[in-house]
Symmetry: C2
Subunit: 893 residues, 2 copies
């Protein structure tokens, strides 16, 4: 591989070949180990094999570049030199761990092998060096087990069976009751198992162990679960993983040992206190696996969680103080919350990892605001610290406190938000049900990476085991799903597909609600209310708005929506659809009369009945938006959508209007379309029936006059949909202008207004220069533009879109995330050409992409004046727009 | 109006302000009058009012620019000076005609007023000057009648009633039997009628008459029939018309007078003989109106047409010789066939008009070939002389000579080709029926411009009256419709909606066939065969091909189509659709099994049954195209199209396959789509079910090997449809390549092949640079590209497209004529970007636009390697492509 400078980057012993900026090459873990070593934190010495080696490995039929093995062994020499032990030394052997470490964390997705360097000979050296035979053989059997499972692919159960057998033989239930001799026997049986299952012996040579472990870690990059995880998290397959080889430190050498994980601030609440969990006399895996219940780090935390176990602050007060120093060093160095792992070996603190702490939306917000106010970061950085999508969690509904809820259990509040769904125990079943549109609540004893696909599709996750750092908790926070973890009161029976809480039996498909903010587990569906937004939230959004340069409007069709949009900070309405205004009550009858009419006069008469209702709707919306712009779109959907859909409705219509049923049915038939999406809709309706546009313009302008008379300010923007030809807009515009003049004449009130168009057909974008001649504004309808540009019906694409995402034909669902490469070209072209004709043309977006952060960045980049999205997504859009401004400013520097 | 140099261009008396190149300004007629005057032909002096004045007129609320009236009167002075008469002179008055004249001829669409200058006073001067009182008053009444009808808008019938009354009073039937005094009385009654109907008197002042007539001609530009004609013929409304004011010459002053029309060569056959018709003692209108049966110009023509009336050659031998000179002057000057009008006034020949002679396809071809061989024009010019669309007439089916046909009458062979249809007498009804998809044959006593809309939609036209130059004949030739004119044996009864021939009664909706090449009228439907192509045709197409630079392929799905395509000169197959190969016989059962299969294996098994059939189809097609390229498209339509469409078919399928009906119905339901056009089709099928692509590739390559083994040459091109993302093509290509390798391996035969894609989605065009990385060729599927770019479903657009054409929102039906402005941009972009990646990328078009001349010009302009169209349109495409090359070369010079 060309340009690969070196394969191995060392750290420890006052030396660091790498640093935190080298994540792409060294992975997140490796880069941070190098950085920690650099800033003087106690890191076990080791080295990192670069991601480039991984790439080489996959490009060269799973082989290594020349000289790689030598470099690895030089890395081992580096550790030996610092620590004074030798790899494979029969007396005092150096043991190492081999861990994966990609650019971004993929928790639990890839493999780890510990205790490498042990064999029948060196284990005796370890006995001698530690004086603890049981520990030494336990360590050895762990290596054989991990190696057998991970490298040699012998199923884990087979190893567990051997331990179970042994425990039965010895009449004990806990691993801890097994003696050194027991472990020796177990090791022998393990080795037999490996021989029998694979036909190969467990490798005794440490170097062979090491190389096998490195290969296994590279291989684990391409397991199904790792690929699934990358797909969901949009991590490119090409990145590859780095491998970290590091001196082993042991948290399980006795009661002066421990292992733990921590956050420099509380990852759920954001509170500025060290937060974490540890297990005495244990290895790191034991904490993450959620098998033993961990202890709190601080006394305060212990009390808050209601734990009865002593805190680290009590059991290891010196180490606790040392950790507080570490917290300060990490935060002032990284200027962000860190998530770290540590091990205490015989009273000595070793830092094994640090990385950016994942956090809930709530805590992200608090941390950002606090750190800015503490002077650790500036406000722009603070704004960038909260991902726009995270706000969704804050805006999600919570359980209505006034609801009488049937709380059946309480677990850990692992990821905030309320979720209601049908209980399902199997992740595959969860996936199936969710595909059918069901709300699913995944209930598991504990979760593992294999359950990921089921977690992603569930509304929430409930587990019986595991703490705040368990797999379930970490993943749920990452994907923003409510989660109650470690709810030990529940007892899960996978066989019978039910869980029990005392006498209560909850069966598959029963409804359960969880509150991830409090840990409550509630029987049945529960009413929820919108979250209350904190003062931190308002402060934070204020900062965001101060940096934001692009406007944010909302799509709102009703006065209620309009009011809500304004509450959420919308600066106008980017899209008010008028179709619903034809549906309520008797209006639909008048609308149907209009469609069935055979003359302009009949149509006008029927439309006349709808006019007052529509006008009143506009009046209310205008009042709510006083002073802010409002874009109203004229009728868009195919007319047949307004017609009756079954015989009963036909009969009713016939009775109410006196039009024969036969005639109605004939009309229905004549209006059927092969491809309604590409059919008789949008401005095509207004071109055929100018009286519809006329009526709508009249309702808009009469409402305008009424609201202006109340002393309010308003410049309505009339938007013509589905324009593909300049002349279409010209003809519709002429009608709107005539009606505006008539209303001014009749009422004696002068008002301003704009007439513009949706750009939602490729042809509109391509001829935007012409269309702009008769448009005061453009609004990109990227839903339809995506459908036409990709030739993809939103209603039908579900059949193959999942396959397309799996096959990486598309990287994103194109109706959620704007296809910048394809559709984006037309958007850019449309803006550029439109502004060539009218330099000050107002341009926005009103497709659903207007509320999606990466699409919002694009909208900013191409120079839109505003984005418009659903009211609930307005804060997300505001923040995303602020990010876009700040990042653009940074990249300009 | 700025930039308008002058309003009036004079001609005659050795002077010409204009010439033939000034058609845009002076109209076709005016420019040619100027030109004829310039080359010394005897043109009555006059002047032309420019089209700019017409434009001014419509832009300024139907008023004239300053100084216009003076200029007109100066034009009159110009005539007076030459001819020695004065306008309004009581003794020897100058009379003038006022005629329209647009850039292109719009036969009979606009108005003409003759004899301007006559009034109660000057008519007496005319009596004195001519010594013919009856003639003078007849001329006067003609003026009053025309003026009353055209300028003052009194219905024509009212005037005709007055004449009828008078004839009844006088007990005569022919106009010619009315005396001077009768005309005087009629004039008086006309004037009363005008006064009564309009409240205004007929203007006696010549100048007022003149200005009124000019205004009326301008107004006639915007009548409904003129607009209709322009819409059908794609003439812009903005062009406007010029007005020609010219000294009157009279063909009706006695038996030494006549009026006629002629062609320098036979417009039906192209034969190099003067050809025309005249009427003795008549005005020009009488010839065109088809009221009297005209006489032939030459004796030869007289004999050929079976006429019993003397020819001009006999009655006016000197004039005949003079006309032969005129023919030579015109042809050697214009180097093309001319269509001219003349009048003989008292033995003096006056040329009233000349213009490019309209001609049938057959004659156009013969004239072009002959003129090139005579040395009048070069071969390139000859090739340009035939419009590609005209070839359609030559290629149209003719009546099978072996058919026993029931000939009920014979008329004039006015426009070649055979047509069968339901007899309809009313043009509106013709339009209605044609909209319902019926074949219509329009039968009229004679046609007038008001019938135009009915003629356009009919398969053919049959008239009882009128000659080869009658309205019906001229228009039918222009629009390429078969026409039998002047079939005097038939008697049309509009009232009873039938026509009779002797005892035979043909009622509305009965089927009749006409043969416009022979004039035969046949009862019932008749079998037709393709036209035999003349040796002229082969010679001509040979010339065209020698200048053509772009390839022409055909869309052909069957071995028969392929053979026909080759006969028509196709240089390969641009699109072989494979869907039909799944429909025949039992294949459809296997295909349905495939769709209903639940595993890859089942699908493979079902597809295996189709493979041998598909392979045999390819073998035959490849054989037929030996040595020429063949593009085969993999399966494209939505799978549900292959499923049973009713209960019977479901039952049959259930029986044949053993799959329960329930399951089939469920599948049917699950495959329903909201917008199939944007749904689960094209390469999306092959991505989901790679085994389909696999089977098709296998069939293609096994067929390739078989044909190569026969010693034939072949490089099959496999085309993947509906690609929007590079990866789609990449995945499909991988399958095709694998199968190709397997087939080579199995058979030991090496072959070349190409893999390419349709560009039929906007996204494909936009990302063509990427797609080209994995494509060997592009073929633009402009049917679908038009649907997606315009957001217009071809199946549904019929509801509003007519309105869109009427409103001039679109200038052409976009599925017939490529939307160059919109869709064309994507085509251009796709080619440019594709070639940026692969400079030698083969690019073609396979949408229906590939057979449409203006679209073919576009394809050439943007650098396509070939166009592909239906076999019947291949010659049209060859000629259009030749035109494109020649014209590009010319514009380069």
């Amino acid at each position: 591989m060309q340009g690969m400078s070196k394969y191995v980057y060392r750290f420890g012993g006052g030396l660091s070949d790498g640093d935190a900026s080298m994540k792409n090459l060294l992975g997140g873990k490796g880069a941070n180990l190098a950085e920690m070593a650099k800033i003087g934190l106690p890191v076990p010495p080791g080295f990192t094999i670069t991601t480039e080696v991984c790439t080489y490995y996959y490009q060269h039929n799973e082989s290594y570049p020349d000289g790689f093995r030598q470099d690895v062994m030089e890395g081992i020499r580096h550790i030996e030199k610092i620590i004074g032990k030798r790899f494979g030394d029969a007396d005092n052997p150096l043991l190492v761990s081999v861990r994966s470490g990609a650019r971004v964390s993929m928790p639990g997705m890839m493999d780890t092998i510990l205790n490498i360097g042990l064999n029948d000979e060196t284990v005796r050296g370890l006995v001698r060096a530690t004086g603890d035979e049981r520990f030494a053989y336990d360590s050895y059997r762990r290596l054989v087990q991990m190696y057998g499972n991970v490298v040699l692919e012998v199923p884990r159960e087979r190893f567990e069976e051997i331990i179970s057998e042994k425990k039965k033989e010895r009449g004990v239930t806990a691993d801890t009751k097994l003696s050194a001799d027991d472990w020796k026997e177990i090791i022998a049986r393990y080795k037999e198992l490996i021989k029998e299952a694979t036909g190969r012996a467990f490798p005794e040579e440490p170097e062979k162990q090491l190389m096998g472990a490195i290969g296994a870690v590279f291989d684990s990059w391409n397991t199904r679960r790792a690929k699934d995880y990358r797909r969901v998290n949009n991590i490119p397959d090409e990145w590859g993983t780095a491998v970290n080889v590091q001196m082993m430190v042991f948290g399980n050498m006795g009661d002066d040992c421990a292992t733990g994980v921590g956050f420099t601030r509380n990852p759920s609440t954001g509170e500025n206190r060290i937060f974490g969990e540890y297990l005495k006399n244990a290895q790191g895996e034991d904490v993450v696996a959620g098998i033993r219940t961990p202890q709190a780090i601080s006394i305060e935390q212990k009390i808050a969680s209601g734990s009865t176990l002593p805190a680290l602050e009590e059991e290891f007060p010196d180490i606790y103080r040392e950790l507080l120093d570490v917290k300060n060093i990490l935060e002032s160095h990284y200027r962000d919350v860190q998530d770290f792992e540590f091990t205490i070996e015989k009273g000595h603190l070793w830092m094994l990892q640090t990385r950016r702490g994942k956090r809930t939306a709530l805590s992200a917000l608090k941390i950002a605001v606090d750190m800015a106010e503490e002077g650790l970061i500036d406000r722009k950085t603070a704004v960038l610290r909260v991902q726009p999508e995270q706000l969704d969690q804050l805006l999600h509904p919570m359980i209505d406190p006034s609801e009488k809820v049937d709380i059946i259990a309480k677990g850990l509040p692992a990821s905030p938000g309320a979720a209601t769904g049908k209980v399902v125990f199997d992740p595959d079943e969860a996936e199936k049900l969710a595909e059918d549109g069901e709300d699913v609540l995944l209930v598991r004893r504990e979760t593992s990476p294999d359950d990921f696909h089921g977690m992603v599709v569930s509304k929430g996750i409930l587990t019986a085991l595991g703490g705040m750092s368990s797999h379930a908790a970490v993943v749920a926070r990452g994907i923003g799903k409510p989660c109650v973890a470690g709810c030990s009161a529940i007892s899960v029976d996978y066989e019978k597909e039910l869980f029990t809480v005392g006498d209560i039996v909850v069966k598959k498909f029963d409804y359960v609600t969880i509150d991830g903010g409090t840990g409550r587990v509630i029987l049945g569906k529960v009413k929820t209310i919108p979250a209350k937004l904190s003062s931190d939230f308002r402060k934070f959004m204020g900062w965001a708005d101060s940096f934001r340069k692009m406007g944010v409007r909302a799509n709102a069709d009703t006065p209620e929506d309009a009011a809500r949009a304004r509450e959420f900070g919308a600066e106008g309405i980017g899209l008010c659809r008028t179709e619903h205004m034809f549906f309520e009550g008797d209006r639909i009858i008048a609308m149907r009369e209009m469609i069935l009419a055979t003359s302009k006069e009949e149509r006008r008469r029927a439309l006349g009945k709808v006019l007052p209702y529509q006008k009143q709707d506009f009046v209310k919306i205008f009042r709510a938006m006083d002073g802010l712009p409002v874009i109203i779109r004229t009728l868009d959907p195919p007319l047949h959508e307004f017609l009756p859909h079954n015989d009963d409705e036909v009969r009713e219509l016939a009775e109410k209007t006196g039009i024969p049923e036969e005639k109605i049915k004939k009309k229905l038939l004549s209006m059927e379309e092969a491809n309604p999406m590409l059919g008789y809709r949008g401005c095509r309706l207004g071109i055929q029936y100018p009286e519809i546009t006329e009526m709508q313009a009249k309702a808009i302008f009469e409402a305008t006059v009424e609201v202006i008379k109340e002393g309010k300010k308003l410049v309505p923007e009339v938007m013509i949909p589905l324009v593909g030809f300049k002349k279409e807009l010209e003809l519709q515009r002429r009608i709107v202008e005539r009606v505006a003049a008539e209303v001014m004449e009749e009422t004696g009130v002068k008002f301003d207004y704009m007439v513009g168009t949706m750009i939602e057909l490729p042809r509109a974008a391509l001829t935007a220069d012409e269309i702009a001649e008769v448009a005061d504004f453009f609004s990109f309808g990227t839903n339809d533009l995506t459908q036409t540009t990709l030739g993809l019906s939103r209603d039908d694409a579900a059949k193959f879109l999942p396959l397309y995402l799996d096959e990486k034909i598309m990287m994103y669902e194109p109706f959620q995330v704007l296809d910048q490469e394809g559709v984006g070209q037309l958007v850019e072209m449309g803006i550029e050409r439109g502004r060539k004709t009218k330099p000050n043309l107002e341009v926005g977006i009103c497709g659903e992409h207007g509320g999606e952060p990466s699409s919002i960045h694009f909208c900013f980049k191409v120079g839109m004046n505003y984005v418009s999205c659903s009211p609930f997504r307005v804060p997300i859009a505001r923040l995303a727009a602020a990010h876009a401004s700040i990042l653009a400013e940074k990249s300009d520097k």
